[in-house]
């Protein structure tokens, strides 16, 4: 434990770690000192002057250098003549702070009145209204009448685009610089700046495209007024009309905790997602989201979602009932030998879907091989499961003495929020970063060591025992993040194996905050692979029956006499199928994902399923029942319990355990948007870490990359063809 400092705030004695700022110390005893510019995730700047407090320190006798005591023996406090900003002043031993005295209250009222002289006070039409720090603090400290002549108000642009994703209302901006500082200090995309001075000071963007950052949406959350609105949410709803469901982003392996805000469209009677907000999980996404996670939700309500099962009749797919579709499937499956059936499941489905899918293939149909798509990622998930991050893993604990190696991966493009967190481990806390890649990535900016290899030759590079990896030896903790760019499944597996070997060699195999971190393509690659234990053999050329559940890549589908597709959309594979089952989207159901750093996390339904779509696990169970299996899982919770009983990585875990929460710092949340922004506190569950499971088999040697490997496009956050193409707001960013 760090050194503790004793102080009193409004007469309450407390002890907090050395170096803590007064504003944070007060927060620990739930005394909210009003702030605008301060944010617990940003470096303090002390510019809004809202947090002024009275500060005193023990009076020192100049002659004796001793602390002066009064007759009663109590320490005499020397109060500073001027008010002090609580957000820039660290606590000191014996300090006394007044947050409620007359001068302090007066100062708050003074500063607030000043801010309001330039504020339009258009709360009734402001998106922030209802969750606005300025509005809340005005109610608490603001003047009842305006002494400022309304005719003197300066009028500025109210709908200025900062690029295509964000708008700024220049009248509402209170120049707190939170947005600029987020971009500079956290995202390291220096695309915002103040322009002009005095009352004319305004936030501008100077990148092309405007506000060019994958993280811009976060500035809307931490903006203390309604100045920054996202192109996605602006004018889409008032905060008090929104319902909230806890969810987990499925767009990448980070598994950011989200809050899905939905609003009832009274015209259509449909409850729709209006925005995706961060839900605090300090070990996963802290309070951030990337813009793909924030804006990539529109597929859920896309007009062309499948609404009914489809059965091919007379050469064309035609709407059918679930009953007829399920019966047709089970009848078909009963007529073919198990070995002639192939199951392929996509890595976007929930772990529970995958577990039942796997059992359906092996226990019900019998001996049917099950594959996971994408095949490349599924080729090394067991290696990652064996050598992944340990029980206490937290990127926030990485710092001086620790080594982070990124091999063949582009962390910002593939796992954006990990980029933020790993960057801070390096830049702010002194971890050593080594980057090995065939091209440049943003991570290269912070690297202490850089290695290059030919495209597709990552595993060969590791096999050559490069000098750069010698740093692993002296590391306190070692985290190796790797990607499968330009690699075949075989070579990606060889890379994972050689990296796991390097970690073990350097003595990190059993450490709780060391391990391999794969940059999987989606949010549940690990969970689906855990549950299915995918076949690594070659995909059969042909089969009698193929069941493709959420498979995006046609290359991952065998040719079959009869094809079943479970899907959200009429994809090319679905369009060619014999039976198509409409799947419920993640926001419409319960389930869990396991992130790339081995954390299992639950998500909850935000609104009813579209049309007649149903969760995939339900369809799998219904088919199994029609084939004589007595499955009666009431829902994902029961399925997860079965998985937990059977799978060593999940032993001992339960849905109740995944829903557990504990206090987090900084304290943020709905009731008090002032301190942390409009981010949601986590009341639904922080998830739980899953265990390493040893893997057998000898290490495989990498082979020469093929032309197909080398011509595969490099990973990009906004690579189209994904679900995100349904988000019109991202149209300008797709690649």
């Amino acid at each position: 434990m760090a050194d503790l400092i004793n102080l009193t705030i409004d007469g309450v004695a407390l002890a907090v770690p050395k170096g803590m700022l007064i504003v944070d110390a007060a927060k620990t005893i739930e005394k909210d000192i009003p702030v605008f510019c301060y944010h617990p995730k940003l470096k303090p700047v002390g510019l809004c002057r809202m947090c002024l407090v009275e500060v005193g320190t023990p009076k020192i006798d100049p002659a004796t250098k001793q602390i002066v005591k009064d007759e009663a023996g109590a320490t005499v406090i020397a109060w500073q003549p001027k008010l002090t900003t609580a957000c820039t002043t660290p606590v000191s031993e014996g300090m006394s702070v007044r947050t409620q005295s007359k001068p302090v209250i007066d100062a708050r009222e003074d500063v607030l009145e000043f801010l309001l002289t330039s504020h339009p006070l258009d709360c009734p039409v402001c998106d922030k209204g209802g969750e606005c720090p300025l509005q809340n603090l005005t109610l608490a400290h603001g003047p009842a009448v305006s002494r400022y002549d309304y005719a003197d108000k300066q009028h500025n642009d109210k709908h200025a685009p900062l690029g295509d994703l964000m708008f700024i209302d220049r009248e509402r901006c209170i120049q707190c610089a939170r947005c600029i500082r987020f971009q500079d200090d956290i995202a390291d995309d220096h695309v915002l700046q103040f322009h002009n001075r005095g009352r004319a000071e305004e936030v501008i963007t100077f990148s092309t495209p405007g506000f060019d950052s994958y993280f811009g949406g976060n500035t809307s959350d931490i903006c203390p007024v309604g100045a920054l609105t996202t192109a996605d949410f602006r004018f889409k709803g008032r905060p008090w009309e929104l319902k909230t469901a806890a969810s987990v982003c499925g767009h990448c392996a980070v598994g950011c905790n989200t809050a899905l805000n939905t609003r009832l469209n009274t015209r259509t009677g449909v409850r729709e997602i209006k925005r995706v907000m961060p839900r605090q999980n300090e070990q996963v996404n802290e309070i951030w989201l990337c813009d793909k996670g924030r804006y990539g939700h529109h597929f859920t309500h896309a007009a062309n979602r499948l609404t009914h099962p489809l059965i091919r009749k007379d050469g064309a797919l035609q709407e059918a009932t679930w009953e007829s579709a399920l019966q047709l499937i089970s009848d078909k499956l009963k007529t073919v030998p198990g070995q002639k059936v192939v199951g392929v499941i996509g890595d976007r489905l929930a772990t529970e879907d995958a577990w039942l899918f796997g059992r359906l293939m092996t226990d019900v149909i019998g001996a049917a091989p099950a594959f996971v798509s994408p095949r490349t990622a599924s080729a090394y998930a067991d290696v990652a499961r064996a050598a992944g991050l340990g029980a206490d893993a937290d990127f926030k604990a990485l710092g001086k003495g620790d080594v982070i190696v990124v091999v063949n991966g582009d962390v910002e493009e593939q796992a954006p929020v990990w980029f933020l967190r790993l960057r801070q481990a390096v830049v702010d806390r002194g971890a050593k970063l080594i980057v090995a890649h065939h091209r440049s990535t943003k991570m290269h900016r912070y690297a202490a060591g850089i290695a290059r290899f030919a495209p597709g030759a990552a595993a060969q590079w590791v096999a050559g025992q490069p000098a750069e990896l010698a740093a692993l030896k002296d590391a306190r903790n070692a985290v190796i993040v790797f990607g499968d760019e330009k690699l075949s499944g075989h070579n990606a597996r060889a890379l994972a194996q050689s990296l796991a070997h390097a970690l073990a060699e350097a003595g990190h195999a059993d450490k709780p905050n060391s391990g391999l971190v794969p940059l999987y393509p989606h949010g549940n690659t690990q969970g689906v692979c855990d549950a299915v234990d995918p076949s690594r053999g070659a995909m059969p050329e042909s089969a009698d029956v193929a069941w493709l559940a959420g498979v995006g890549d046609p290359a991952d589908a065998p040719r079959a006499g009869f094809t079943i597709v479970s899907e959200l959309f009429l994809t090319p594979l679905a369009a060619a199928a014999d039976v198509v089952l409409p799947a419920a989207a993640p926001a419409e159901r319960e389930g869990s994902y396991t992130s790339g750093d081995l954390r299992a996390q639950r998500f909850w339904p935000a609104h009813p399923a579209h049309g007649e779509s149903r969760p995939d696990w339900w369809a799998f169970q219904e088919v199994a029942r029609r084939m004589g299996k007595d499955w009666s899982f009431g829902g994902p919770e029961a399925i997860f319990a079965a998985l937990a009983a059977a799978h060593p990585a999940y032993n001992g875990l339960s849905y109740a355990g995944l829903a557990a929460v504990k206090p987090q710092w900084p304290m943020v949340g709905r009731a008090e948007v002032n301190f942390g922004g409009t981010v949601y506190d986590n009341t639904a569950g922080l998830g739980a870490r899953t265990a390493r499971v040893p893997v057998g088999g000898a290490a495989e040697a990498p082979v020469e990359p093929t032309l197909a490997d080398l011509t595969r496009p490099e990973p990009a956050l906004y690579r189209a063809g994904d679900l995100i193409r349904h988000s019109a707001v991202l149209a300008g960013r797709l690649v």
Partner: protein, 437 residues
Amino acid sequence: MAKHLLLRDLDIPNIREIEVYQANDGYAAWHKAVTTMKGEDVLGIVKDAGLRGRGGAGFPAGLKWSFIPKDVFPKYVVVNGDESEPGTFKDHQLIRGNPHQVIEGTALCAFAIGSNLAYIYLRGEFSEPGKALEKALDEAYAKGMLGKNLFGTNYSLDIRVHYGAGAYICGEESALLESLEGRIGQPRLKPPFPATNGLYNKPTVINNVETLANVPLIVHNGAAWYKAMGTEKSTGVKLFSVSGHVKNPGNYELELGKFSIQDLLDMAGGSSTGRPIKAVLPAGSSSPIIPAANFGAKLDYESMGTIGSVLGSCSFIFMDDSVNMVWAARKMIRFFKHESCGKCTPCREGTNWALKLYNKMLSGEGGKADIDLIADVNKQIIGKCFCPLGEFATSSMTFTLKHFKQDYIDFVEKKMGGSPEFLAELARDAHATHGGH
């Protein structure tokens, strides 16, 4: 009048040329320091001499230099030539008339703290003195006074000139550093201070042009010689920029503590209008105004404090009794509203509001309630600003209200607002500031 020590261009023609400067002991101290002295010896002499900063705050220069950590490299010297305080034009004359003395002082400072690179930051409008300075630097390089391995030693020094974009706040040292680094000119949070975390986060000495112009004399003639001038706590000579209603405006070089404000007024020929002088702003618009009754105060840091004002940058703007203080205060508030960097709320919003209120007074729409509101707005700014600029802004209101409240009352009661001159002035200002910016 004794020969000038700083404004030597008044005594010696063409001292801006290096040959002339050298013929008058120029660069002798520099040569002696680099070839025979240690950095700490130079520092010791300056400390001993009691030289205080001439940029406004009067902080002892030698003490400031001694804060520079020895073991952190590189270190920088930054010369503050922003000189933006209204009524201040002393650095301008030094740079233009006697540039080598500024360069030599800068060089000695760099040598004293072990720096190899100094920047002279000039306000953007100083293109003409800047040319003189750049020419002088070229000469100094050509003569081997600057550059690599000076006088055959292993000490090297470069001095570069950098022009700001013309903002008052860029005279504040940390905003100056921001500007020098290429960012928007706004002050930094302190601590840390520039001595440890200055330019590019490295140890940095920032001194005013005039402060450093004293250094060659001190090193050449010794601390005792310098200390013999001035008072115990305000040693040496000081430049005073005199303007306003005086017959002979200009820069005056005086020994500190020997003369009074009245003496200075007399030296400047007294009132130019024949009307009695009503008050003086001793440090431009950022200083507490001094009514004529207090003109007996001596010109040194301590004496000015005893009459509730400051020596500051020594820019004395004299005003005769035709000046109404509401008008004068508005002029200053308009300046501060225009120059507020915008970083902190009280200064950004407070000066904006105050100007609106003064405009209301001038337009003839102001009433007694507006005088109270001005006082309130002023009080709301005081003590809450991020940097001194905002606090400076309040002194124009605080002290005109304190010493000349009657002017405000007269203004309302005698309906002085709304006159054609005032209306024309308001219209002119509105135009000049792009609709209120």
